[in-house]
């Protein structure tokens, strides 16, 4: 009986030492998964996911605290990409956070703008140019369409317009709609 206890204790001791050594040797620094998740997110920094930007949301996903379906600007494509990366089931977009909209662009009605600089402070990607008491304008190529500049504007001079496809950015339509749906075979 005593030998058995001793043997098991000895075994436990040796194996414990091995594990302890391994834990120090293979210590993981940083959070590489959050980086990869952050790469997939659309970087609008819109906060519709209830986090203060894309990076905090990515970190929360990596920690397993939130679902992957809280990003309306990324839409289904982003959820699919996340589901693929993390090998979890696809989930439809959480309607609490918003709905998927076509890509938008903020446009300032320059006649109505009073130059209050509030939208400049709100813009997460510094895509609005202007100075106090002077007209502001949006740098169209940098705007992510996050709509964060809308609420602060005191004169409602910012409109969201849908970005129209140009011949060189146009995409062929999905032919699947004329295709047989799964399980439709006679």
């Amino acid at each position: 009986m005593l030998t058995a206890i001793l043997a098991i204790t000895l075994l436990a001791l040796i194996l414990g030492l091995v594990l302890g050594f391994a834990a120090i040797r293979f210590k993981v620094e940083g959070d590489p998964i959050a980086d990869q998740i952050d790469k997939i997110l659309p970087q609008t920094q819109c906060g519709q996911c209830s986090f203060a930007g894309c990076r905090p949301y990515a970190e929360a996903i990596a920690a397993g605290e939130v679902d992957i379906n809280r990003c309306p600007p990324g839409g289904e494509a982003t959820i699919h990409a996340l589901a693929d990366l993390l090998e979890v089931e696809f989930k439809p977009l959480d309607e609490e956070c918003g709905v998927e909209k076509p890509k938008m662009l903020a446009v300032i009605d320059e006649d109505r703008c009073i130059g209050c600089t509030l939208c400049i402070q709100a813009c997460p990607v510094d895509a609005i140019l202007g100075a106090a008491k002077h007209m502001h304008t949006v740098i169209a190529s940098e705007c992510t369409g996050c709509e964060l500049c809308l609420p602060p504007c005191p004169v409602d001079c910012i409109d969201m317009v849908e970005t129209k496809p140009k011949p060189n950015t146009w995409r062929w339509p999905d032919p699947a709609h004329i295709d047989l749906k799964l399980g439709d075979q006679p």
């Binding site: 659309p42 894309c54 992510t144 011949p167 995409r171 062929w172």
Partner: protein, 508 residues
């Protein structure tokens, strides 16, 4: 002629349907009242207008300049007045509009002063390329890639063979056939210029064996030019898609262009016969590219044939001129039946890449509902690039784009062989085009997201810095205030004994 020919896998034997449009010689399309010229008729950056509304222009006058490297100039096809520079519908599968210059012609068709070059060897290769660029010449086979780039081998490459592509493998199209029959001399002039620009002697004119008239015309013309002794007409078997650049190179030389590579990487440059002719016109006659031969054919066309058409001519005028039973706004095919696309809309202009208009395909595939894939593998047998269309189809359909890319989706030349042979009539090429544009769109969005991330991070860093500076200033002010107050108190207390000596810096 005795050269051993190579081959490529797959491919199809198609019914040519070319007789209908080769009965009559090339005719000139009458001048249209209004010409609409899209600023982007080529691959690359759109040209920049250098005229404004109301300007009078002469035939051949430059109206838009090249922007960036991959771009060419645009010229007025006839004399007249610029009436608009605005968005107009363009011949594109999307049916979208793009910036166009509209000219109201005055009917006089008056040329600007042309500067023909008698002896091009007096100019350097670089000058020749610039002349070709300024003449607005792009590949007239259908892709519209600026030709001057393909005449510049660069310092790292040596060109062994120039291939002149007179294959025209797609059914119905005959514009290259007719230009070879009627303008063989001009083509040979163009070959001389190209050989000079590329420093190459060996030139192959590849023609499919279903064009005996073109073959004899070119051989006859070649016989009269003994100095072109290393230029040969090579007759190749008729098979679709031999006319595709990479497949043609495989047939003529037996060499394969590597994935993602260019023909120049294996020492080959190829140009279309129409392009070759246009280069000859631009150098020898000083005429920029302002017109092209367009084949108008199909079951519904009464006077099918080839028409020398000024760019910007509305397609419906061309169709009316040929007499079609087509109703207004009825769709027609631009390009061949295999690789072309349906267009509708009457005011679409003829552009540099518009090689053929078909109204009514004879044995046209009826738009039927595709049946499920039966995994017969016919598509893989037919594929000239040895891809697996079936696997690409599954992945494209499931929007599993990474997998589709792994199966070399971007090597697909969209020739349409797989869709043609599919017994279930699945529009395979449509799926591949869809997947390709989706992937490109995703890449653009990723690039944009990366920029947004960097801008956001920079902003956060800046805000933090500002915050720190603000706090620092506040602390300084507080410290200064506290110091002066302390000094005052001290002063008040010690007034009779000593004057104060407080250092405000110390309290920081």
């Amino acid at each position: 002629m005795t050269q051993k020919l190579g081959s490529f896998p797959g491919g199809l034997k198609l019914n040519g349907q070319k007789k209908r449009s080769t009965q009559v010689a090339i005719r000139k399309m009458p001048l249209s009242k209004k010409l609409i010229l899209p600023l982007q008729q080529h691959i690359g950056e759109a040209s920049i207008p250098i005229v404004s509304v109301g300007d009078k222009v002469l035939k051949g006058q430059k109206i838009a300049k090249a922007e960036g490297h991959v771009s060419v100039a645009l010229h007025a096809p006839s004399s007249g007045t610029i009436i608009a520079i605005d968005e107009q519908p363009i011949p594109h599968p999307s049916g979208l509009s793009a910036l166009c210059i509209s000219i109201e012609t005055d009917g006089e068709d008056q040329w600007i002063k042309r500067q023909p070059i008698k002896d091009f060897t007096e100019h350097t290769e670089h000058e020749i390329r610039q002349l070709i660029r300024d003449a607005g010449i792009v590949g007239l086979g259908g892709a519209g890639f600026p030709s001057f780039i393909k005449l510049n081998p660069g310092v790292h490459h040596h060109v062994e063979t120039l291939i002149i592509n007179g294959v025209e493998c797609e059914p119905y199209i005959t514009c290259d056939d007719m230009i070879m029959r009627e303008r063989a001399e001009g083509i040979l002039d163009g070959i001389e210029i190209m050989c000079y620009a590329l420093h190459v002697k060996n030139c192959v004119i590849a023609i499919e064996d279903n064009k005996p008239e073109a073959i004899s015309a070119l051989e006859l013309a070649l016989g009269a030019r003994p100095h072109l002794k290393e230029t040969n007409v090579v007759v190749i078997p008729t098979r679709y898609p031999t006319g595709s650049e990479k497949q043609l190179i495989q047939v003529v030389t037996g060499k394969q262009v590597p994935t993602g590579g260019l023909p120049i990487d294996i020492g080959i440059v190829s140009h279309n016969v129409g392009t070759t002719y246009a280069i000859a016109r631009s150098i020898k006659h000083g005429e920029p590219l302002i017109s092209r031969i367009v084949t108008v054919t199909g079951r519904e066309v009464e006077h099918a044939g080839n028409f020398e058409t000024l760019f910007g001519t509305p397609m419906h005028e061309l169709l009316e001129f040929c007499g079609t039973k087509r109703q207004p706004e009825e769709p027609f095919i631009l390009g061949g039946p295999m690789m072309g696309y349906n267009l509708s809309g009457d005011h679409l202009p003829v552009t540099k890449t518009a090689n053929c208009i078909i109204v009514g395909v004879d044995d046209g595939a009826k738009a039927s509902t595709p049946l499920p894939c039966i995994r017969c593998g016919e598509c893989a047998t037919a594929c000239p690039v040895s891809l697996l269309p079936q696997q690409l189809y599954w992945h494209s359909r499931a929007k599993d784009l990474d997998k589709a890319k792994e199966y070399n989706l971007f090597d697909c030349i969209e020739c349409g062989c797989c869709s043609y042979v599919c017994p279930s009539e699945i529009p395979l090429v449509h799926y591949f085009r869809f997947a390709k544009t989706e992937i490109m769109n995703q890449q653009q969005e990723h690039a944009k997201a990366d920029i947004a991330r960097i801008r956001h991070e920079n902003r956060l860093a800046r805000l933090e810095l500002e915050q720190q500076e603000k706090e620092l200033r506040q602390q300084q002010r507080k410290a200064a205030l506290a110091a002066t107050q302390a000094a005052k108190v001290k002063q008040a207390a010690e007034l009779p004994t000593e004057p104060q000596t407080t250092d405000s810096q110390e309290t920081q």
